[in-house]
């Protein structure tokens, strides 16, 4: 995982309507989405978005339905043109691209996975998996082995000659993923890729994605409206509301310090013990007498299990043989209670 910024979105605005530029001026003066719709009859799709996406990371964009997630991800390959702002991919402004350059970007640098799969219904599974390569002008004999390799990789060996409608939803989305992987692009855009799937299959697919990612280190932009999914996948979490970013950062940090009531509501129902990791709660230094060693990426649930109910224990946090901090069960207990902005002052006093 490097710190290179792969995709960068700067001051991006998108307004749907007849006179977006006129409406843009109003938005810059501070008009809200609701007012803009009521007074100007324009829809504020995106409002001053700034996000950096690092190479090899999964950036998850989360928000309720209608918050502008799909609109945002479609700016990355210019399926939607912005009203104002910049989109930089590998440092280049793709809004300045010619049609040919844009096509090249879509063919070589980016691939996309869709909520409703969007496979070609008249093509076989193999042809669908090879769609990106066929689009580049590669003949069937030449793309076949590549397409088959990725179909095998996503667990669809031997289904080559089936048609999409003969497969279950989960299997169709596997084809969708194979199609995106076969293009060999280093950026993958996934718009609610798993939202249409049953919960169990969805978990399978999330595991598959993480497994592939551990191996391939793609730059993935993943959209979801499901916080559990977001927390499971995200290296970087961006939370959208009414077309604007309300908070972004490492998911653990957002969970421990939600920036506003909207996010507090979001995180209220989460199983925090399972999601929070030792590294986000621990404190520096060796601390008092240790009841054992834990890894920074252990979750709090495992720690509670190890403490066997005792609340006065303290553990050393060890990474690669070196002690990097300690964690007390009191820290753990505190972290398990969702923080409310209303009782912030009370907490401050206690600390």
């Amino acid at each position: 995982m490097s710190d290179t910024i792969k995709v960068s979105i700067r001051n991006l605005y998108k307004i749907f309507g007849d006179d977006p530029q006129g409406a843009l001026a109003k938005v810059r003066e501070g008009m809200t989405k609701a007012d803009l719709l009521e007074q100007e009859n324009h829809v504020l799709g995106l409002n001053d978005i700034n996000v950096d996406m690092k190479e090899g990371q999964i950036t998850v964009i989360m928000g309720l339905s209608g918050s502008g997630k799909s609109t945002l991800i479609r700016h990355l390959n210019r399926l939607i043109e912005p009203t104002a702002g910049e989109v930089l991919v590998n440092g280049e402004d793709i809004l300045a691209y010619s049609e040919a350059q844009l096509r090249q970007l879509r063919r070589v640098n980016m691939s996309m996975v869709f909520q409703k799969f969007a496979l070609l219904p008249h093509r076989t599974v193999l042809e669908n998996a090879g769609m990106a390569l066929a689009t580049q002008g590669i003949s069937r004999e030449d793309y076949e082995s590549e397409a088959r390799k990725w179909l095998d990789r996503v667990g669809l060996a031997g289904q080559d000659d089936q048609y999409p409608h003969q497969l279950s939803g989960g299997m169709q989305q596997r084809v969708g993923i194979a199609r995106a992987l076969a293009s060999n692009s280093d950026i993958m855009l996934m718009d609610e890729a798993f939202s249409a799937l049953d919960p169990l299959i969805r978990t399978d697919m999330q595991d598959l994605l993480l497994e592939l990612q551990a191996e391939l280190h793609k730059t993935i932009v993943f959209i979801t409206h499901d916080l559990d999914e977001a927390l499971k996948l995200a290296d970087h979490l961006v939370i959208l509301k009414d077309g604007a970013v309300v908070q972004q950062g490492e998911p653990q940090k957002i969970l421990l310090a939600p920036a506003d009531p909207y996010i507090e509501d979001f995180v209220a129902d989460i199983n925090r013990a399972r999601v929070l990791r030792v590294r986000s709660v621990m404190e520096p230094g060796e601390g008092g007498p240790s009841a054992g060693d834990v890894a920074p990426n252990d979750n709090l649930e495992s720690l509670i299990a190890r403490s066997e109910g005792a609340v006065d224990r303290s553990f050393r946090v060890v990474k690669d043989g070196a002690v990097i901090g300690h964690i007390t069960m009191a820290d753990v207990m505190r972290a398990l209670v969702p923080r409310r902005s209303s009782d912030e002052s009370a907490q401050d006093k206690a600390a």
């Binding site: 390959n77 844009l102 090249q104 879509r106 691939s111 996309m112 769609m131 689009t135 855009l189």
Partner: protein
């Protein structure tokens, strides 16, 4: 004397009216009025019940400078005849291949011995429909028609349908595609299609008769094509517009060119609708070919016409029955191919 005299008098137009008045040819109505004598003229005030609509003829009675309706129709005719020659210089060469195709096709289908022609037709049926049941049905229909000595006329009708439907598809599909790609094009073409579809077929035979000589096959060829091209254009446009937006978006996201999208995604996915359009086009060609026998289109329609003209009930009925079975056969064959396409991409 006439009802509207007073109107022109009060408007002070009497002089203008009389200035233009001449002793032009008298209309039948004038003559009748004259023979009725002076009684009518004597009672100068017409009762309100009999007030005529202020039509051209009624106004002409009161004011000679206003033309009669007869002048309008004659003027139209004269105008049309005046541009006819110019129009022919353009349209004649353009449509000549149609005459040629129709003549050749008619010749091929009637001159080929039946024991070659029938197997060929059955082979085509098999190629299109892939169903022995349908092939059997078509064989039965042809056999039936041939048995009552209607083989030749049936072949003539089929020949015209084949040529016209082929040309309809040849032009209709690209027009439909163009419509699907631009809303402006759609706004221009749709009213034309609406007009072609609502005009009774008799109406566009009229200018065509003036434009071409009745011995030219293209006369009825054009009539059939104009009438039958509508559904294939409409359904091609509709079919392409109805292609799943998500799939189109995926095609865009993977960097397909417009061409790749059209031939690789849109047309294949619109094919069931396009084929439904072709089916409709063929059925409408058949309907029109029968009407077009009034302007010399050969085939079963001629016999129907003879039945009507000479009150030969039997001749008309048998030919009519022939048209019905032919229609059923054509419909079954094209529907079977449609079903085949649908089954091979059961995506809905």
């Amino acid at each position: 004397m006439a009802t509207y005299d007073g109107l022109f008098d009060t408007l002070g137009l009497r002089e203008w009216c009389d200035g233009g008045a001449s002793d032009g040819p008298m209309s039948m109505a004038d003559l009748l009025a004259k023979t009725k004598g002076g009684d009518a003229a004597a009672s100068s005030s017409t009762p309100l019940r009999d007030l005529p609509f202020p039509s051209l003829d009624a106004l002409h009675d009161a004011c000679g400078a206003i033309p009669q309706t007869r002048d309008l129709t004659q003027g139209l005719e004269a105008g049309f005849l005046a541009i006819r020659d110019a129009l022919r210089i353009v349209v004649d060469p353009l449509t000549q291949p149609l005459s040629w195709m129709l003549r050749e096709m008619l010749w091929v289908m009637t001159a080929t011995p039946w024991w070659i022609m029938v197997p060929i037709l059955l082979l085509i049926t098999w190629a299109v429909a892939r169903s022995w049941k349908i092939v059997g049905f078509v064989a039965l229909v042809i056999g039936l028609l041939a048995f009552v000595d209607h083989y030749d006329v049936a072949m003539q009708t089929l020949a015209i349908i084949f040529v016209c439907a082929f040309i309809c598809v040849l032009f209709g599909v690209p027009i439909g595609i163009a419509m699907s790609r631009s809303d402006r094009m759609q706004n221009i073409v749709t009213p034309i299609l609406d007009m072609l579809q609502t005009l009774p077929p008799f109406v566009y035979l009229i200018p065509l008769i003036f434009l071409f000589s009745v011995t030219e096959p293209k006369l009825y060829g054009i009539a059939v094509i104009l009438y039958a091209i509508v559904p294939v254009v409409r359904l091609t446009n509709l079919g392409i517009r109805l292609v799943d937006k998500d799939v189109i978006e995926a095609a865009d996201a993977f960097g397909m060119t417009n061409r790749q999208k059209l031939f690789g995604v849109q047309i294949p996915l619109a094919l069931p609708n396009i084929m439904a359009g072709v089916n409709q086009t063929i059925m409408m060609s058949l309907a029109m070919v029968v009407i077009a026998s009034m302007v010399s289109a050969p085939g079963l329609g001629i016999l129907v016409l003879r039945g009507i003209r000479n009150l030969e009930l039997g001749v008309g009925l048998v030919a009519g029955f022939g048209i019905v079975v032919l229609a059923i056969a054509l419909d079954r064959v094209t529907k079977a191919s449609l079903a085949r396409i649908d089954a091979s991409q059961a995506n809905r």
